[in-house]
């Protein structure tokens, strides 16, 4: 029994914190919202220098050969400072490719010379029994892209909305249905029939794209179906970790303010109403942390539980961020709702994150589905 970070993991986290501290990410996020798109620093070279693109790629391809929990530590650091590092798209894509025997570009993806984006396709559950994608709008989930042809080279058609980190990616990796059966596919972003429309919604640090595939040529990967499903859950675990990183900062900043701001002759943090709402954020944060350990362990320690563990982590972490961002605003009073303050940046991050990758609510539904299916 050992649920603590190894020395290497502590080092990885500290190194990530140090690397990201060289950039004024929060100021940049605000300026980008003001229309200055050049304000956002390109953090990919920093990621490459630190070896993050290859975290989940085997050492034989130049990666670090680490596991989900290590990747989650890095995402947590990105979340702390709302750094737009395109790992949420890249890492699940590399997890699919790494499990295939003949994957294209793996060595370049490990160094970060090339960048991948995961096409999020949600695996079947107990009620919705097909592979589905996030809709552009509404609650009806469309089916996964369809592949046609045979052998290793097929063509894929379909649309995917709000794909994290799709703009600028070199290769898109996901799931398509070939004769109704899910297969892993890798599609070069520059190929004919592929269009990626960059979209910005509410949080300028989050790169998103609508992906349209019209008979796009694709390489079929011999990735097992469990890995294709696990990529979705890996994305859930990563956004959970990233969210909890943001919760950490939101809580730290709120606590610091509650100690220094005085009303009626005493620090506002001495009032139970304020103290208890901050303790509630801490409670949600600690629950989320425990579930990150669960998800990090389950991916290889108990693969059958990974869907439950990752979905539970997303459900708790997503709600924690919602609450932390709102508490951050209310503890700061009026100033917390102004443009100059950082609280709105965390609030914007919370609002958008909640609605991506199947949504926080979708993760809660999946927790129920997994437990009901086992009952």
């Amino acid at each position: 029994m050992n649920l603590s970070l190894s020395d290497e993991q502590v080092f990885l986290r500290e190194a990530a914190r140090g690397a990201l501290s060289r950039f004024k990410t929060l100021e940049a996020a605000r300026e980008a919202l003001d229309g200055d798109e050049q304000a956002l620093p390109d953090l990919w070279p920093t990621a490459c220098e630190a070896g993050w693109p290859g975290l989940l790629i085997g050492e034989e391809h130049g990666g670090a050969g680490l596991d989900a929990f290590d990747a989650m530590l890095v995402l947590g650091e990105c979340g702390r400072v709302i750094a737009g590092v395109p790992l949420l798209g890249h890492l699940p894509a590399t997890a699919i490719l790494d499990a295939a025997s003949m994957a294209p570009m793996l060595d370049e993806l490990a160094t970060g010379e090339k960048r991948a984006a995961y096409l999020p396709v949600s695996p079947p559950g107990d009620v919705v029994t097909g592979w589905t994608v996030d809709p552009r709008s509404g609650i009806e989930r469309p089916g996964a892209p369809a592949a046609s042809g045979s052998g290793e080279s097929v063509t894929v058609s379909g649309t995917l909305a709000f794909v994290p980190d799709a703009p600028g990616a070199d290769v898109l990796v996901g799931v398509a249905l070939l004769g109704g059966k899910p297969v892993g596919v890798a599609i070069e972003a520059g190929a004919q029939g592929v269009s990626v429309e960059a979209v910005e919604r509410y949080d300028a640090t989050r790169s998103l794209g609508h992906v349209k595939l019209e008979n796009a040529p694709a390489t079929v990967l011999d990735t097992p179906e469990e890995i294709l499903a696990a990529a979705w859950y890996l994305a859930q675990a990563l956004i959970a970790a990233e969210s909890l990183g943001s919760v950490e900062t939101a809580l730290d900043v709120s606590v610091a303010y509650a100690k220094e701001r005085f009303t009626f002759g005493r620090a506002i943090g001495s009032y139970q109403a304020v103290k208890h709402s901050l303790t509630e954020v801490l409670r949600e944060l600690e629950n989320g942390r425990s579930l990150l350990y669960y998800a990090g362990w389950a991916r290889h320690g108990a693969p059958g539980e990974f869907p439950l563990a990752a979905s539970a982590a997303r459900s708790v972490a997503g709600r924690a961020l919602d609450d932390a961002a709102r508490t951050m605003i209310s503890v700061h009073g009026g100033i917390g709702a102004t443009w100059e303050h950082d609280a709105p940046l965390y609030f914007r991050r919370a609002q958008l994150s909640r609605r991506l990758l199947g949504g926080t609510g979708g993760a809660s539904d999946r927790v129920a589905g997994e437990l009901i299916a086992q009952a």
């Binding site: 649920l3 603590s4 107990d126 425990s290 362990w297 993760a363």
Partner: protein, 405 residues
């Protein structure tokens, strides 16, 4: 990061498992058609079983060897608990005595007290109860009013009332926090006593709760005589002694919360049995949110164990886990009753029992509000609530509150 036993832990687990297999037939049957029904017989049988567990090294295993324990750590305690649960056998009867009161005597008792009381406690020959809370002193425990007065011959006379006392109806002894000096600030005038429950002037009354059952007792003391050897930890040191008990209480709760049966699998199974509920988006959403939080508790427990194993003090997550457990179970009870309808509230239903039990559990071991104060101050470092009782003698405090000291 891993959840597997080390080779030493695996060996210990195998040893526990084989002992339990060998002695399973000696355990009392408490469930099913052959279960013992008579309350007194159940208690008697469980006391005997505790004695057997103690002989097998499965009671008080974190106690030092010189007092009959095994000198093992919390991880072995958890392994033993897991194996006892896995074998579907009852655990020890006197979890409070073995987990909290015995360790307090080990830490603060005299040599005479240790040699007289610890062995019968461990073996279930004498069951103990914890006499701390009072009607007007729970979260603010240092406000206890039970009064022990020193007599000329060095003995004591005790009067007052205690409440929420588990096992008092069959306990042989109780560990009692009393005020011995009302003229000093409230934390300073306290003394811990061990009290024979069969002494003249002790009255135990069952305390019925929402379910209609009496899980706890109230205990009255009317001029009870205690000899000088009844003091534990020194006169005036009662608060420090009580803190030791409360520290062991947190560890006991922290290591045992999974055993309360408030888990996501059980709740999901109840809902999955309804064909419509299991597909209903609202039911699923509520269940998913509740279950995700309850799942976290298990891994919070593992984090606590990891810290204990490394000789560290468990972090705030263990205190907050109780809030998550109780609030999660309350929401689960509401959801299940919303789906099952009034039948969930029928007398004898497991859900009616749980729904009735939980509102009180919210305040057990200190109210949720006090827990949030403590964590807000100790963990987040937030400034304390202004206090009106600091440095004021208890007797003056009482008169300010409009009550006689």
């Amino acid at each position: 990061m891993d959840l597997d036993d080390t080779p030493e832990q695996a060996a210990y687990r195998a040893q526990v498992r084989s002992w339990l297999e060998e002695h399973a037939s000696e355990a009392p049957i408490l469930q099913g058609p052959d279960a013992i029904r008579d309350e007194d017989e159940i208690i008697a049988a469980r006391r005997v079983w505790q004695g057997k567990l103690a002989e097998g090294g499965l009671a008080g295993l974190t106690w030092p060897k010189e007092y009959g324990g095994q000198g093992l750590g919390p991880i072995e305690q958890v392994i033993a608990n897991q194996e006892i649960a896995r074998a579907k056998l009852p655990g020890i009867l006197d979890a409070i005595g073995v987990g909290m009161l015995g360790p307090t005597i080990i830490a603060h008792g005299t040599d005479e007290q240790k040699s007289r009381y610890l062995a019968p406690l461990l073996h279930g020959d004498e069951v103990w109860c914890q006499l701390f809370s009072e009607p007007a002193a729970g979260s603010d425990l240092a406000a206890v009013q039970a009064r022990a007065r020193l007599q000329d011959d060095g003995s004591w006379r005790l009067s007052g009332q205690k409440v929420w006392t588990t096992n008092a109806q069959f306990a042989a002894y109780g560990l009692l926090l009393a005020r011995t000096d009302p003229d000093v600030p409230k934390h300073k005038g306290l003394t811990m006593f061990l009290v024979p429950m069969d002494a003249e002037g002790v009255t135990v009354r069952g305390l019925r709760q929402i379910s209609g059952e009496a899980e706890f007792n109230e205990v009255f003391f009317d001029d009870v005589a205690l000899d000088a050897g009844a003091v534990v930890g020194g006169v005036g040191n009662g608060w420090g002694t009580a803190l030791t008990t409360l520290m062991f209480e947190r560890v006991t709760i922290g290591l045992g919360s999974e055993g309360m049966g408030y888990n996501s699998t059980r709740f999901a199974s109840a809902l999955a049995a309804d064909e419509h509920a299991r597909r209903d988006p609202e039911v699923r959403h509520r269940l998913g949110e509740i279950a995700a939080e309850l799942l976290a508790i298990r891994f919070t427990g593992y984090r606590t164990l990891t810290a204990l194993q490394k000789g560290q003090v468990p972090g705030p997550e263990s205190g907050l886990a109780k809030v998550t457990l109780v609030s999660g179970a309350i929401k689960a009870g509401d959801l299940i009753a919303d789906v099952l309808g009034p039948d969930a509230l029928q007398e004898g239903s497991e859900w009616a029992y749980m729904i009735s039990f939980l509102p009180g559990l919210k305040s057990a071991g200190g109210t949720e509000e006090i827990l949030r104060n403590t964590i807000g101050e100790r963990v987040l470092g937030l400034p304390p609530e202004p206090r009106l009782d600091k440095g004021i003698p208890f007797s003056e405090l009482r008169s300010k509150e409009g009550a006689p000291a």
